[in-house]
């Protein structure tokens, strides 16, 4: 990888964050009133009151420097962002917004990475096996079965899963990330408890996304099957398993990795909503509560976090891609 490409790629990353945070600033300052008053007002109109609204307002006019000229406000905002200062949480004053988000972050990252990896692996295997010769027809049907799920939004699926497995059959807990009041440590019981709570949230994401990966992999694999290097590998008497893993899958995965980078935004958005359904204490849950409490800086922080996470994931995938495909040289 040339330094030039690396520089270009990093520049795109920075530019994306810059554009998104500027948009964020612009949107909140385009309101006729100041953003916090607007938010508080709207919450009040929906029958929700925010405690010490007036105090907070006064504090934040100053904090935001709303009386400064706009360019000055923008510079302050950017400067604060650069220092990782997202402002105070209105709901948990005097805790900072970044602290609220950071506390929730491990849950979100844990859930998201497990669900994504699981769906990606299983979905791709399923899709590939669906067209691989002499594989039981059951796999083909599994792909068809997974199709409807991929057309349905996660969070709606999540509601049905909660109803069936938590409410009706009580197989899994209704929500949360762990049993309240349980002692947490580095032991099997804790791990079991965490997994027990994570199963339904993960499942609702996985069920929805598996079909997406399976379908596109099926199409890619159908083409790869007729590729010359596959026929040549078979002609050389390689074992079917070896051909599948190192010849067919290895090549068919390349476009899928690209697709993963593109799809990451959708994944994280769905995750936010799934957390709400399951009261899962991640960033999505923080966002939901912040929206209800008109906690402006936390809302802003979470949206910026979403942008940052997607940009970072895309950057990482872009940087490791040349390692997967030796033909790509930047």
């Amino acid at each position: 990888m040339t330094p030039r490409y690396l520089g270009m790629r990093l520049a795109t990353f920075v530019l994306t964050i810059l554009v998104a945070s500027t948009l964020n600033f612009a949107i909140s300052r385009l309101t006729p009133q100041d953003p916090i008053a607007a938010l508080l007002g709207r919450m009040a109109s929906r029958g929700r009151t925010v405690e010490n609204g007036a105090e907070i307002l006064a504090l934040y006019r100053e904090r935001l420097g709303l009386d400064d000229p706009l360019p000055q406000q923008y510079l302050n905002y950017m400067g604060n962002l650069l220092r990782g200062d997202l402002g105070y949480s209105l709901a948990f004053f005097p805790i900072k917004a970044e602290a609220v988000i950071l506390r929730a972050l491990p849950w979100t990252i844990g859930l998201l990475s497990v669900a994504t990896l699981l769906a990606f692996t299983v979905g791709n295997l399923l899709g590939a096996l669906a067209v691989w010769p002499r594989v039981p027809a059951g796999f083909r049907w599994l792909v068809y079965l997974s199709m409807p799920f991929s057309a349905v939004p996660y969070y709606l699926l999540a509601l049905i899963l909660v109803y069936l497995f938590a409410l009706n059959w009580s197989v899994f807990p209704l929500g949360g990330a762990f049993t309240p009041g349980s002692v947490r440590g580095f032991d099997l019981a804790t791990l079991g408890d965490l997994l027990h709570h994570a199963t339904l949230p993960v499942l609702s994401v996985v069920l929805a996304v598996i079909g997406f990966w399976a379908l596109s992999m099926r199409g890619i694999m159908a083409t790869v099957l007729g590729d010359d290097y596959l026929i040549y590998a078979q002609a050389r008497g390689l074992r079917s398993r070896r051909i599948f893993s190192h010849y067919a899958m290895r090549n068919a995965m390349l476009p899928q990795v690209t697709a993963l980078a593109i799809d990451f935004g959708r994944l994280i958005s769905g995750q936010v909503l799934v957390e709400i359904i399951f009261n899962y204490p991640g960033v999505g849950w923080v966002l939901y509560n912040a929206l209800r409490a008109a906690d402006f800086f936390v809302i802003q922080g979470v949206t910026l976090f979403m942008v940052f996470a997607v940009a970072l994931a895309t950057l990482i995938l872009d940087l490791i891609y040349p390692l997967l495909d030796p033909r790509i040289r930047y």
Binding site: Y229, A235, R236, R242, R250, P326
Partner: protein
Amino acid sequence: MATMSGQARESVVVLAVEGLSIHYEMRAATVRAVDGVDFELRDNEVLGLAGESGSGKSTLALGILRLLRAPGRVVAGSVRFGATDLLALDESALRELRWRQFAYIPQGSMSALNPVMRLQAQFRDTLTAHGERMPRAAMHARFVDVLQGVGLDADLLPRYPHELSGGMRQRVCIAMAMLLGPRLIIADEPTSALDVISQRVVLETLAAARKAIDASMLLIGHDMALLAQVTDRLGIMYAGRLVEMGETGTLFRDARHPYSRRLIASVPDVRARREFQSEAMDSEPQWPLDEPLQEVAAGHFVRPWGGGYDS
């Protein structure tokens, strides 16, 4: 040859194809790509197979090797390799025969190598698939050996296919075919992607490498001049059928079927060959193909086309 007794002749047949028919069955139409082909390939013999583009040469090769992809399907006939009925063999027995007994040099040599794997890994896969266990150094020595046999340098081994030129890749495929010293090599236009000069050089390399391991070879091509150099016998294919077959020298001196004659008369010049092909392909078969082959001289078979056998 004609004096040889039936018994003795039988014992040296490496590959016997009988009445082989292969169809591509699609919704809109069925293409009879190979239609009742018979031939035998003897020990240490090089049999050339020539015919215009689309005459079914690759399909025939893939059918023999059991590498056909849907919608291609063998609808009739048999393929015997020595005493083994290849078409009846189960998957795992077939896998064990592959490469150790018969190797294949694909028409698409350019894209036959796995693009994301280093050459040495692809060579190693071929060895280990056939239970060859040996120290890394010995393995490496073996790879270097076959590469040098086709005039390639050992420092290619850690490279990826896209880092090689077209000619190098075709040579790699030839080297790969020599790896286990097979009894039979089926080479499908092993030089098709090269310029005229490289074609000759690569073909000579292949011929020499084959000779070194005493393998038989089915060599597919449509350049008659090139085929003439390295084959013992020649079969002419037209619309999925053999229209003439005989010793290479005989055929060049005394081709009977008008199609063979045109093929032989065609100059080995790229432009002229194109014209010839398109003319032949445009039309329905110009000659009747249903009558059985007739032996017009010892070992020289021709399909009657309605004209006289004058020379």
